[in-house]
Amino acid sequence: MNETGALQAAALTSTSSNAALVSFALYLVGVFVLAWLSGQVMKKRQFVNEYFLGSRNLGVWAFALTFAATNASGGSFMGFPSLIYTHGWVLALWIASYMIVPLVTTGLLAKRLNQIARKANAVTVPEVLRERFASNNVGAVATAVLLFFLFFYLVAQFKAGSSILAILFRDVEVYQSAVSAVAGVSSNIPWVNNAAPDYLLSLVIFAVAVVVYTTYGGFRAVVWTDVMQGLVMVVGVIIMLFLVLGQVGGLGNATRKLAEMTPPEKGRAVIRLAEPLDRDLELRRDVWLATTDESGAKTGIVRTGEIAIIPKGETASAPFEILKITTPSEIESIEPDSLAVSLKVEITETTPYASGAGKRGVYTSAPGPDADESAGFLAMGMAFSFYVFWAFGGAGQPSNMVRQMAFKNSQTLRKSIVTVAIYYSIIYFALVVIFVCARIFLPGRELASDRIMPEAATYLTAAAGVPWLAGLLVAAPFAAVMSSVDSFLLMLSSGVVRDIYQRYINPDAPEKSIRKLTYTSTAVIGVVATLAAVNPPEFLQTLIVFATGGLAVSFLIPMALTIYWPRMNAGGVIGGMIGGCGILLALYFYGFLQTGSFGPYNLFGFHPFIWSFLGSAVGAIVGAKTGKPTDPALVKKYFGRA
């Protein structure tokens, strides 16, 4: 980006952000209207079945889009673009399993699960397992595992939603005033003051919006808003794809430029003044600075990753985070930002990527560059792991299982799978194209790559002269996050109400109490997740993979055997859950011990999901073989001809 371009983009950002604010507000109004309409429908139906399962009456579009939108979460629109941007074309291989995901995740269990849930009159996933074996122990273990992993997932989604809002509103004057007010309050509160004030404010806005409409509208509101959000996502992605291809001069041109790139280096630098000033000098993050030789000629270019301050009366800052560009053509073409004072940059340390450093072609080939992994981003074992993970990980998600219990008939299911397959093909392949291209027009974003989606949306619409579109484009990832959060929020509250309160505490509770408890628990869970998201783990995608992996390895095999194997029993379900969940936790814990940060340990190069999946299968079969047989009357009820 040249200097003129940078200034122009900055000027347009303000306009586009105001337009974004209006578009976003309209979008939120739509969400609340749908929630209100859902609330009206709920008054005419039985509360529990309607609130948690939409009365098992979903048609093709509702089922397909709620399924697609719930699965395309904050990970898809924040973490995934960030990974594409950071590692290049190899992400097409990483996500390739989505070509078969709609068939595996819905076709594998849906029809049979729907039938069994109807026979059992079950509203939640633990309830299906409990009724199938008439075992409270199964229900209790399933509920505990579900609540544990869902909570991690919810926290990740809250972080994603808040990050999007923080970027969307960062140039809006009213928002910035509110951020200053929040900063004044939060800076004195321990623990809360670790979070940036703009993030805190966005977190509160996001949490209030999603908790209110989910609490009020229940499952039907979630599904209807999912349909709207699903449409917003696909329209947003298609528009963005065309804008991107226009911006980079075609995909072939972008790929050829990408092949010339070498990975940047993360490091630290200090800035120096010739003379001290009579006030503090603050240099904001995301500023391009040139390094120069003694004659003042440009030798390199770096981007600041955090605020740097030269205190009053001093001439140098403390070392701060930077990203050093290494691709020769980019060093030449990126102009430093204009500053009010003359500064000299001194790089104090740099760390080359563990894989791909100094090599051309790493962004167009597997395994892709990686800052930490010497084997690259997607070594062969991991490519296979993710092909397994997305398909079977998706099939094992209780959020998908709940939807599979809610569609109207098998014709709905068949048409929905086709709809989702086409939908995913458009969304995921387009996202790969968009964000490999983003490396060309938005270089040096590796230090905050989680923000690349809203940043690209804002930049593209500004450059194309249609800033009002930014609202729609940024609403796409926000819609993705909201559509996941609402579903998971509802599952957590159904776990509390249906699987704990109604089962163990007060089975004969009147509907009025159930209704009150449901609203309260949905709201309380939302508040607790908000508090947990104040200081969430750094890596969004790692957290999402952990939570989805945990749910899948705990539920897929036990549920598949529950509905397809007449000899399955309660011992098999509990064995499968403990086997899968236990191995996953052990490998993440070992990963933490190895690296000191939250992440998996890839035993023999395979993701923990593979080992946990095997552990779940072994646990389920051993448990079933050694456990007490299921009552023959139950086997006949669920497997026999009516």
């Binding site: 070509m99 049979r112 167009t364 080939s365 194209v433 009147p510």
Partner: protein
Amino acid sequence: MNEPNDVPENESFDPVYLHTKRETYFIIGSWIFFCLWVVGVSLLTGYDVDPDNMKLVAGMPAWIFWGDALPWFASNVFIIWFCLKYMADDPLGEDDDPPLENASQNGEVGHE
């Protein structure tokens, strides 16, 4: 070791169970087929590609086209055929949500 459960004879199994079991085998088979295609082509042609000799197809690296874009298209064709032509339409049971006026009027949850 416990005794096996008393399972129904083959002819007395629920037809929905039999259909879905058959469809499940088909789905797992298709997953294996596309996994071999995608992972196989990518492993053989996509790793450490020399940028000076990189071929492009439709603007993307050739290994992405043959190992990702093409199987993606093929899987969509397969899914459309499988869902619209092969998968059986089975009755899944009654809608268990009668209108509110027909539900129990004693204020309790209807399903319990």
